[in-house]
């Protein structure tokens, strides 16, 4: 197994290096020699690894008014807030509606209607109401995460095994104890399964918010839009790479939490 891991990692590294090298090389070949600006593959549009690395170092430095790390921090911060608020509210709502047939029936059409609305259409409205700052981005991330978690929790709350509830009752449990020891843990299993998609979607919500939010909201989405305005491919690539890195780290972190919380499930019991 260990040897297998080694070769997998070696392959991955090799592919990455080959990709970057090809990118660097191909964007350097001129179509007509010595004529400036005529390339087979024009770095004006997709930049080059060396230029991107250069811009990365520059944007990280204190020479710029809004350094890159502060933009990244702003994006991460809004994502995590939207994620946490979305999970909490989605779980509570899903549990309440899932355990009461009457309430579920009353709210059903509203939920379906709101969920089928493309969330991106809400961006201008949210910006109008919550301004251009952090709050608007959090609200956008929340509006996506909430529904993912809500639907999962709702399903989970409705599929609690009735025999588990009966057996708890025979062991002397009251209604509150049943809620705490049967319904909540059984539902949480479904909720946890929605954590990984939720974090990715929270990031989408935040970046879209940053596209419109302008400088006061900051963030990597702002850097992307600014680069579009100045036709600066290198800066845009920097933003994309950093966003990708943030996405990977967050997804891995959530995965760790998920494995820890669901370690009782057969599919998490490899070891």
């Amino acid at each position: 197994m260990k040897g297998g891991n080694w070769s997998v990692w070696a392959w991955r590294l090799g592919i990455l290096i080959a990709f970057l090298a090809a990118w660097e090389y191909l964007t350097g070949i001129k179509a007509v020699s010595k004529t400036p600006g005529l390339y087979w593959i024009d770095p004006f549009f997709i930049s080059r690894p060396s230029a991107i690395a250069h811009r990365f170092a520059y944007l990280m430095s204190d020479e710029v008014r809004l350094p890159l790390w502060r933009m990244a921090l702003s994006t991460v911060q809004s994502t995590l807030w939207g994620f946490m608020v979305g999970i909490t509210s989605g779980f509570v709502t899903g549990l309440l509606l899932g355990r009461s047939d009457q309430v579920a029936r009353v709210f059903d059409p509203f939920i379906v209607a709101f969920n089928s609305l493309p969330r991106i259409a809400l961006v201008p409205l949210v910006t109008m109401v919550f301004g251009f700052g952090l709050l608007a981005k959090i609200v956008l991330a929340w509006s996506i995460v909430f529904f993912i978690v809500f639907f999962n929790t709702f399903q989970g709350a409705r599929s609690v095994d009735a025999d588990l509830i009966h057996s708890a009752r025979f062991l002397g449990a009251g209604e509150r104890q049943i809620l705490r020891t049967v319904i909540v843990p059984s539902t949480l299993a479904w909720t946890f399964a929605s954590l990984t998609p939720s974090i990715s979607f929270a990031l989408i919500g935040v970046v879209v918010g940053e596209f419109i939010g302008g400088e006061s909201g900051g963030g990597l989405g702002y850097l992307i839009i600014q680069s579009l305005g100045t036709l600066n491919a290198a800066d845009m690539m920097v933003a994309l790479f950093v966003l990708g890195a943030i996405g990977i780290v967050m997804a891995l972190g959530i995965r760790q939490i998920e494995v820890r919380l669901l370690r009782w499930r057969p599919e998490y019991q490899k070891r």
């Binding site: 009966h166 057996s167 708890a168 025979f170 062991l171 104890q177 843990p185 009782w264 019991q269």
Partner: protein, 261 residues
């Protein structure tokens, strides 16, 4: 005979399935005495589990009544009743130890006492070393052991068991029979044990209620005369066992045959 703990009087249950009415149990009357082990046997679909569910308040009778210790069974099950389900109902998100502790936690028993009683139960069930394991890694037999100990640890005076060993292989089943008889021998709960396995009923019970096929009525009530303590393996070779098996099998066989014809 000692006092009656469960009195079942002219009990009937009709289920409605759309426009159809299915009569599952019809005019069943029998008593279960204190410290008695009664098995209810019958072909599948004869309503034997329904009777157990009615004693445990999971299903309301259509007519007739059930008295547990003299009071009529209502919407909530009597507190002295424990129930072991056919299906595995141990909580997958709790370790073995914390599953067994459930009933004690519900009753607000202090932490130290819970620890001591769970430890004793784990030992009795031969689950040492598995205390902190999640149920997903356990075999069917071990899971059912956990379920049994979880019910027994709160000392129920009456134990209702709905084919608890139905899904297990013969070998595991025999082991659990021996363990159940051992546990029952020391505490002597009043037990109603539902099964379709006749040899299981003879091995365990003092009395066997044989049901007809649907609508379930009582075909006969049979007193098992095998002496206790019983050895679940040696028992099967004894001539008394074979004779009793033959007698009940004859009655039960008629029920199977009628269905075929």
């Amino acid at each position: 005979m000692s006092r009656v703990r469960i009195a079942i009087r002219d009990l009937s249950k009709t289920f409605h399935q759309g426009p159809r009415e299915i009569c599952a149990v019809s005019g069943v009357t029998f008593d279960v005495h204190d410290r008695e082990f009664v098995a209810v046997v019958g072909p599948s679909g004869c309503g034997k589990s329904t009777i157990l569910n009615m004693i445990g308040s999971l299903v309301a009778p259509t007519s007739g009544e059930i008295l547990v210790d003299g009071s009529r069974v209502g919407a909530r099950s009597a507190p002295q009743i424990g129930y072991v389900f056919q299906k595995d109902t141990i909580f997958p998100w709790r370790t073995v130890e914390r599953n067994i502790a459930l009933g004690l936690e519900y009753r607000g028993v202090g932490r130290a006492e819970v620890g001591a009683r769970v430890k004793e139960a784990v030992k009795l069930a031969g689950l040492e070393g598995f205390e902190e394991v999640f149920p997903a890694t356990l075999s069917g037999g071990m899971r059912q052991r956990v379920a049994l100990m979880r019910s027994l640890v709160v000392n129920p005076e009456i134990l209702l068991m709905d084919e608890p060993f139905g899904a297990l292989d013969t070998h595991t089943k025999l082991n659990l029979h021996a363990e159940l008889l051992g546990l029952w021998g020391s505490r002597r709960q009043t037990v109603v044990f539902v099964t379709h396995d006749l040899s299981e009923a003879i091995t365990l019970a003092d009395r066997i209620v044989v049901m007809t096929r649907r609508p379930g009525r009582i075909k006969l009530v049979y007193d098992v005369k095998l002496p206790r303590p019983r050895d679940v393996i040696a028992l099967r070779e004894s001539s008394e066992y074979l004779r009793e098996y033959g007698e009940i099998w004859h009655a039960l066989g008629e029920e199977f045959q009628e269905r075929l014809s």
